[in-house]
Symmetry: C2
Subunit: 199 residues, 2 copies
């Protein structure tokens, strides 16, 4: 642990550039240039480009998922765990552009191994919570589908937000995390209350 850890700096820069440009468009020279070292130095810290990007992904995902897990481990005393989860997840996706873009990129480009890693490091925990919010009297398959719908509506909402300036009636304010959180919470509460008292 040094005051300025070169390896960590490389991981941070790699994650940001990969999130913005994608795997093939970010070169080892680019990363090195932003960090302020030579590209040869990158090969001292990492075996190659594949390993660098893979570790950068794990670096960001483990970093950003910890607070979410902490939230989910708190007991639900107010019955507003759904709102708290939506608020936190929307805020994470809207306000952390790097995290959001890494997530979407993995969903579209990830192979089987990387998708399983993504689930285990980021999505499995919130997924279990959301399944727990669905009607326990429904069969397992229905509850899984409902959980996917809930996570999907949040992801889709954030993803479509970039189109709002070009959609008829769309205002950029509709992409604010507070607006999205309020709206999605209301929709989900209506859906969940229609099936069971799940709080």
């Amino acid at each position: 642990m040094q005051p300025f850890d070169t390896r960590t700096a490389i991981l941070d820069v790699s994650a940001r550039l990969y999130a913005d440009l994608g795997y093939s468009a970010v070169s080892m020279r680019d990363v090195a240039g932003v960090v302020g070292v030579t590209s040869a130095n990158l090969y001292h810290h990492f075996k190659g480009k594949d390993e660098l990007i893979r570790e950068a992904l794990a670096h960001v995902f483990t970093q950003k998922t910890a607070p979410l897990a902490e939230l989910l481990e708190r007991p639900d005393v107010t019955g507003e765990r759904l709102e708290a989860f939506v608020d936190h997840f929307v805020r994470l996706l809207v306000e952390d552009r790097v995290f959001f873009r890494l997530l979407v990129r993995e969903l579209v480009d990830g192979d089987g191994v990387r998708l399983r890693d993504l689930v285990q490091s980021v999505l499995e925990y919130p997924f279990r919570l959301v399944v727990g919010l669905t009607d326990p009297q429904q069969p397992e398959g229905e509850r899984v589908l409902m959980a996917v719908s809930i996570l999907g509506i949040i992801l889709g909402h954030v993803q479509l937000a970039v189109l709002l300036p070009y959609l008829p009636g769309g205002q950029p304010e509709h992409a604010d995390s507070s607006v999205i959180t309020r709206h999605v919470s209301a929709v989900l509460r209506r859906v969940l209350d229609g099936t069971a008292e799940s709080i």
Copy 2:
């Protein structure tokens, strides 16, 4: 118009490779090799890589959106226009892997100009329909947010489907278009009926 139009073949191959690999990972040599011509030939039909990919996108989007527009222009006599729309849109995203991946890639990588093109060629029409399905007594902003939620839940559901094999309780059958259509239709019907009789 020739029996085998080289230009059209180039556009089809470009769209497929770009959908699978992304902009930087698909080379002019790759496209030419699959089509069965030389890369120099591509520069006779298109000014460069940028123009090729841009025209390939427009080629696919205008092609695949026509049936959707046709559906939306039919009068809603049975009151099941929502179900018909969900069915068609889910089927399009699930069964046409090229279209789906192009759409997601544009959402994550597109700049202002390309996003506006995407809206005008693909999303504006279904968006107007979905706005029409929401409660007319709600203010415009609320109806827009609801429409984004409806499109978003479909997009998010299809997008998260790749994770189902790795999620607890997830079954690959949950990614079938018929299963997604039935589930999403039921959820949306519940949400929309909670606000107004919109049929």
